[in-house]
């Protein structure tokens, strides 16, 4: 399980039936953002049964048991955490690296 931040959502029509009806979120691990200028790592796509939104910090569980054709799921939305020494980029309001600042629509 890891701490991540929701950075997007994916849609797919042509897919394994196990993915039917599942909301799929694109999630970046918090610790991947701690080193500005570092090469980006591929984000994880996780099934989201609990309704997390873009920008929210979430708990992601990984590792399927082979019963389904996916192996990552959002299992919690983080209210708060206390990790002494965690970099500033872990803060929920940290500036986003690699994204357009003020990129949202009016």
């Amino acid at each position: 399980m890891f701490l991540g931040r929701v950075i997007g959502e994916v849609w797919a029509t042509q897919k394994n039936p196990d993915l039917n009806g599942l909301r799929l979120l694109v999630i970046e691990a918090l610790d991947e953002r701690s080193d500005p200028g570092a090469p980006k790592v591929t984000p994880v796509v996780a099934a989201d049964p609990i309704g997390a939104g873009i920008g929210e910090q979430v708990l992601v569980a990984c590792g399927g048991d082979g019963d389904y054709a996916y192996e990552a799921a959002v299992v919690g939305i983080v209210d708060d955490f206390d990790v002494p020494g965690a970099p500033d980029s872990w803060r929920a309001d940290a500036p986003r690296l690699g994204a357009t600042p003020e990129g949202g629509r009016a």
């Binding site: 849609w11 993915l19 984000p43 994880v44 399927g64 389904y68 357009t100 629509r105």
Partner: protein, 108 residues
């Protein structure tokens, strides 16, 4: 599950028996700063993906489940979906192929 771009095909005649009849594709993991991972992987295609398309790739037991040949198969990476589109923060729209990428974000 990861996002990857299909970059090619692989064929092998002489192979482990459980791999018979499987379509193998070479994929490159997607990164938020482009499609630029240096790493590539070989994945079993279960959804008729094509070269250039962005796909969902699963690993481990989930991949074996998707391949549907039981847990004795000597492979644990599979393509389970072809991405129609993806919306990333900042209004960035990532399409099925790189040609369909666009941004709805603010003026540059």
């Amino acid at each position: 599950m990861h996002i990857c771009t299909v970059i090619g095909n692989v064929w092998a005649t002489q192979k482990e028996a459980t791999l018979g009849g499987l379509r193998l594709l070479v994929v490159r993991p997607f990164t938020t700063d482009g499609d630029g991972s240096a790493e590539t992987m070989v994945a079993v295609d279960t959804v008729s993906a094509g070269v250039g398309e962005r796909v969902l790739v699963v690993h481990g037991r989930a991949a074996r489940h998707a391949i549907g040949k039981g847990h004795d198969i000597g492979f644990q990476t599979a393509i389970v979906g072809v991405i129609d589109s993806m919306e990333l923060e900042g209004g960035r729209i990532v399409g099925q192929t790189a040609e369909n990428d666009r941004s709805t974000g603010g003026a540059n």
